[in-house]
């Protein structure tokens, strides 16, 4: 009886979970491999257009974004490369390749911006919530919940005392871990929703002190620099740099990640 329930549960997981993890159909996979081929033959322009073709179908993946970023980088377009690296980072925040290339490409941008000092706790917290993608965390949470449930079900029906005790506490622990991963995933989604970022695409942008053309220029930034978008008013974006400086610029100067 117990076994049957577990089996049904597993089938349920597969039915709902597998489509979410399923890979693209053969057509897009072939296109992807074609683009990778272009890249490996140093034909970066062709690779860029082929990757873009893939993304036209309103589908995305961290891998395609990352590869497209690489192709842009090799083609010399650092700003576009950073844009797609950041997009990839958003989908797969813990990927070390993506993070490395972001750091690497940032070294080639014009602006050197020192990050404003941050409390070590918030830094750690960000590392924690960005370690694994929200989707993975979701799957982990589901699996933990299922195993936890299984253990609790076992607890309900088992007779022997020590096994009963063990299954009860371990089941509760799994549930707790599942809740933790849901909270982390939720924080990650919240982090990316609240922290809207954009990459500067105009080669030199005068950032104004207020949203008007005649306003004083507060500072000048260059293409490839990442800014946090705080606000959007009257056709102007209020942005903040990593070092804490704020100003206004036109939305045409940036592309949102």
């Amino acid at each position: 009886m117990k076994f049957d329930l577990f089996k049904i549960g597993l089938c349920f997981v597969m039915m709902l979970g597998l489509p979410a993890l399923s890979f693209g159909d053969d057509g897009t996979q072939a296109l992807f491999e074609k683009a990778n081929n272009y890249y490996s033959k140093n034909k970066y322009k062709e690779a860029v257009s082929t990757y873009n073709q893939l993304l036209k179908s309103r589908e995305s993946s961290a891998i395609v974004y990352y590869n497209l970023g690489n192709a842009f980088y090799k083609d010399g377009d650092i700003a576009s490369a950073l844009l797609y690296y950041e997009k990839a980072h958003k989908l797969s925040p813990g990927d070390e390749d993506i993070n490395f290339n972001i750091r690497f490409a940032n070294a080639r941008t014009t602006d050197k911006i020192d990050e404003a000092p941050e409390l070590f706790l918030s830094k750690w917290w960000r590392v924690v919530i960005l370690a694994v993608s929200a989707d993975t965390l979701g799957i982990v949470a589901i699996v933990l919940f299922l195993f936890g449930s299984g253990l609790l079900v076992f607890y309900f029906f088992s007779v022997s005392g020590s096994i009963k005790k063990f299954s009860f506490f371990s089941g509760l622990a799994l549930f707790f871990l599942g809740i933790v991963s849901i909270i982390i995933g939720g924080s990650q989604v919240g982090y990316f929703n609240s922290n809207k970022q954009a990459i500067i695409f105009t080669s030199s942008v005068s950032v104004k002190g207020s949203p008007a053309d005649k306003a004083n220029t507060v500072f000048v930034i260059h293409d490839g620099t990442k800014v946090n978008v705080l606000d959007n008013a009257n056709g102007w974006l209020r942005i903040k740099l990593a070092n804490g400086n704020e100003g206004w610029l036109k939305p045409s100067d940036v592309k949102e990640i």
């Binding site: 996979q29 995305s60 891998i63 590869n67 989707d135 589901i142 299984g150 309900f156």
Partner: protein, 603 residues
């Protein structure tokens, strides 16, 4: 004495009186309002032969020249008229209003004084500090600003460039040249342009400027080069060389004012003259993009490159001198550092750069030597790659690429290699990161997913998430139901008793058909005891005939049935040890079955 004599005498008297009355002694200035530092002239003139000229006090001004005395004598109809003038060249030094006091002169024993003149001095150019008042000889000519229009034709400055149109970085020669047909007594450079837009290098003049004869616009001039500069344009476009200015004191020929001037050779004047060259525009062409070599670093001119090495067979930890020599004409001092690629295992030091440059009218030429000190640290066969050097040749308008030799170096094991490596603690060394690059693309599955359709937070996610707890709750409810049903153990057991008995009886029947009597009776007895144990809720061990009988009695089972049961149990007990003949096994089976049925009916 007749009346005519009286008349003549009278007339002469009158005339002499008229003559005496006609003496005019006036002071005049060339201008009444002057700027500080500006020169002006004061002239005191008398229309008679005067003597004992007393000059006024001119301390408010700086005296540059004078008094210059000139005397004119005219004979008209046998009558001699004389006029004299005393002039001073002054320069205003201070701002303010000053008065030139009257001068005095004695004519025919009478003293005449001139008029007073007021001079207003306004702010002008700064006052030159050098006092020129003791210049020249007294009375010999005077310096003035006159005739500048004429002078500009015979004394002028030119900034001369040897090429009007050059490429960016191509050298051109600029000469500041003086053209003159008059004698220059003194000259002074006022202003040299700062030559923005050029990197410049002066040509060192060996001696002071020498005049030579040259023809310009059909006229012969004395020409001297004041300064020669080699220029390298720093950017493309039209670059203007600002004018430069000089001031001269020149001796010019004037029209003789009278025969005395002519006779005494006084018809020369010293003239102050400031000259300025015209601005010159240099058209700078950008270097052509077509055919630009990959490693081009801005060298323009004509060069040759040579690399050499002092040894190619050595022991580890010995040093190699690797020398690159670039020779040619052009912007040698502006050459960028070469970046030769050495084997990564070599220790390399920054090059020592030695320039040997000569600058002359033909431009900058010479050589630059880069001396690299290399120390191989490990034994092996190494190769120093050739260096690519490219330059733009403005005469042909094309790029030229040069390549040096490559060198093979054989490094033997050094004697004290161990000593050196001992410094670093052990024999290991860090893996050198030779070239950094981004990480390679990811291959394999594209893992494409629809946009904005992330799994986390989707309906499927929540359903799956809930499935565990729902499963749990379902199991909990089911278990509680079960537990509730099973809570009355006696009831359950008695309910189950018939079933258990039936199972034993079925077993018995199997033994019966197998004709295994001993096992048959055992099964019957087990079935009955088991049934009773469950039904009456008495543990199997406590079961004996008395407890069964009393328990059945309390449950109001009929006496006959109890006796029957007891007989059957006895029979089974007996049959296990001795053969039973008075009753067939089939009958016993039926009997046990009936008893159980009967008890089931009654309880």
């Amino acid at each position: 004495m007749n009346i005519r004599h009286y008349i003549l005498f009278f007339l002469l008297f009158v005339a002499s009186g008229v003559f005496a009355q006609g003496v005019k002694f006036t002071a005049a200035v060339s201008k009444t309002t002057v700027g500080t530092g500006e020169q002006f002239e004061v002239e005191f003139s008398v229309n008679a032969d005067g003597s004992n000229f007393v000059s006024p006090d001119l301390n408010d001004f700086q005296l540059l020249g004078g008094p210059n005395v000139s005397t004119n004598m005219q004979f008209i109809n046998g009558k001699a008229t004389m006029s004299s003038s005393f002039s001073y060249v002054l320069m205003a030094a201070k701002e303010g209003t000053f008065t030139i006091a009257p001068a005095s002169i004695v004519v025919n024993g009478r003293k005449f004084t001139s008029n007073e003149i007021k001079i207003t001095v306004v702010k002008g150019k700064p006052v030159p500090q050098n006092n020129q008042s003791n210049r020249g000889t007294q009375g010999q000519g005077r310096a003035n600003n006159a005739n500048t229009a004429d002078l500009s034709k015979s004394l002028f400055l030119r900034a001369v460039i040897d090429k009007n149109t050059v490429y960016q970085g191509q050298q051109l020669t600029l000469a500041y040249r003086i053209y003159t047909r008059v004698d220059i007594l003194q000259n002074q450079v006022d202003k040299l342009p700062d030559l923005t837009g050029f990197w410049n290098q002066d040509i060192k003049a060996l001696q002071p400027a020498q005049f030579r004869l040259d023809t310009y616009k059909g006229q012969r001039y004395n020409v001297a080069d004041l300064k020669q500069i080699i220029l390298f344009p720093e950017h493309a476009g039209n670059i203007t060389i600002d004018p430069f200015g000089m001031s001269f004191i020149a001796r010019v020929q004037t029209q003789p004012r009278d025969f005395m001037d002519q006779f005494f050779g006084n018809n020369v004047q010293e003239v102050n003259y400031a000259a300025k060259s015209l601005p010159v525009v240099v058209h700078v062409k950008p270097l052509p993009e077509a055919g630009k070599p990959a490693g081009f670093s801005g060298a323009v001119g004509h060069f040759s490159i040579e690399a050499s090495i002092d040894k190619n067979h050595l022991k580890a930890n010995e040093s190699i001198n690797y020398k690159i020599k670039i020779t040619g004409t052009g912007n040698i001092k502006l050459l960028n550092n070469l970046n030769p690629v050495f084997p990564a295992d070599f220790e390399k030091y920054d090059p020592k750069i030695t320039d040997t440059v000569t600058v002359n009218e033909n431009g900058v030429s010479g050589s630059r030597i880069y001396n690299y000190l290399l120390i191989p640290r490990h034994k092996g066969d190494f190769k120093i790659d050739p260096i690519q050097f490219s330059y733009f040749n403005p005469t042909t308008g094309s790029y030229t690429s040069l390549t040096t030799k490559s060198f093979d170096i054989k490094v033997e094991k050094g004697i004290n290699e161990d000593n050196v490596t001992a410094l670093s603690g052990d024999d290991k060394q860090d893996v050198k990161l030779l070239d950094k690059d981004i990480h390679y693309i990811k291959t394999g599955d594209a893992q494409l997913r629809s946009d904005g359709n992330r799994f986390y937070g989707s309906l499927a996610f929540y359903l799956l998430l809930l499935s565990g707890p729902v499963l749990c709750a379902g199991a909990f409810v089911y278990r509680n139901q079960q537990r509730k049903n099973n809570s009355d153990v006696v009831k359950v057991k008695s309910k189950r008793a018939g079933k258990v008995a039936a199972k034993h009886l079925a077993n018995a029947q199997k033994e019966l058909s197998a004709n295994n009597t001993t096992a048959f009776y055992e099964a019957i007895s087990k079935g009955l005891y088991g049934y009773l144990s469950d039904k009456l809720n008495i543990s199997y061990a406590d079961l004996d005939r008395e407890t069964i009988a009393s328990a059945l009695k309390t449950k109001a089972v009929s006496e006959g049935l109890v006796t029957q049961l007891r007989d059957t149990l006895d029979l089974c007990e007996m049959a296990r040890y001795a053969p039973v003949t008075h009753i067939s096994t089939q009958e016993v089976f039926e009997k046990a079955k009936n008893i159980i049925n009967a008890i089931e009916n009654e309880i």
